[in-house]
Symmetry: C2
Subunit: 192 residues, 2 copies
């Protein structure tokens, strides 16, 4: 799904998302995914514990990149500046394959409650990774949690816009995620 | 689980949470839950589609109360004031049974990935209910989404503090949820 994914992992994800789109998540078996990807079932199980885990492939890498970007922000960076650096770090690791697969993955998730649940827990994990990295910088707890939620919303909104963006004038995921973060920050000042 | 729950529903939830705590979620069957609650399995299935659905009992009611409180806020109320009224509406419908059951339910969720996933999706549903109600008031989309996230965080933080609060000087769920909302609002001004 990204430059950080070894080739077989990537092939399995693409095969699975294709099949989910063609025949639905419930009707798709691990055997079918392995066959489409040109590998054996046991190869599948060396990469994923079950078909649902395909959805969250890269979650650990995403969490790590977000946390690294936040941790390496200058000492005087505000919480949102640090979150922005985390988003840039993630964006730098995502390429055309992510962009192409994103909308199809989203459609598969939208069609399956089971995948929606798994996706919801994935998002909590990403927010927790950001929040933990902010706490380690000395950001107060409530601020850290809120900044992490903004980071998550910005990532989701930015990713959606990136996949919808004009291919010929691609402004990149980082551009869209940071624009979404600024927008949410402006919204935060008009809440109460 | 609350005043809005008919007695049998309430009994099934208490029985389930007891069993989840005693022997774990995975090991607990619908038959055991029904037996503990003193009803038949078919009575169980008239109330819930499966044991996982017990967790989200009341989600629709919660969503409705949040949305009603927001919709009925004065026309000139800020987004967060409207969210606060939604939280007060929910708090007014929650009693000692919710308070007593909350920590045990939380422990059951913490011990089961399946329940964590279901819980994560429930939270998304609550935020969506608030966000939709805010959009209907003419709140801009980014602000509505952010205010809904703050409302969700305030509800979770307030509920946790309510269950930990000194029983003899109970300040009520509304008090704790609104205090958490004010705290998050203050945090929102120190983000960037």
């Amino acid at each position: 799904m990204a430059r950080w994914q070894p080739e077989t992992t990537q092939r399995l994800i693409v095969a699975a998302v294709d099949l989910f789109g063609e025949q639905g998540y419930d009707a798709t078996t691990v055997a079918q995914i392995a066959e489409r990807a040109g590998v054996t079932k046991s190869t599948f199980f060396r990469h994923f514990s079950d078909k649902r885990e395909l959805l969250v492939a890269g979650q650990e890498t995403l969490s790590r990149l977000l946390a690294e970007g936040i941790a390496e922000a200058p000492a005087d960076a505000t919480p949102l500046t640090a979150v922005g650096l985390g988003l840039e770090r993630v964006a730098g690791a995502m390429g055309p394959a992510n962009r192409e697969l994103g909308p199809r993955l989203k459609a598969a998730v939208a069609a399956s409650t089971e995948l929606q649940e798994r996706d919801a827990l994935k998002n909590i994990g990403l927010a927790a990774a950001m929040s933990t990295a902010l706490l380690a910088r000395g950001v107060p707890e409530a601020t850290a949690q809120l900044a992490a939620e903004l980071g998550l919303l910005a990532f989701k909104r930015g990713f959606a816009r990136w996949t919808e963006d004009d291919r010929t004038h691609d402004r990149g995921l980082a551009h869209h995620a940071l624009a979404a973060l600024r927008e949410l920050h402006a919204a935060a000042t008009s809440l109460g």
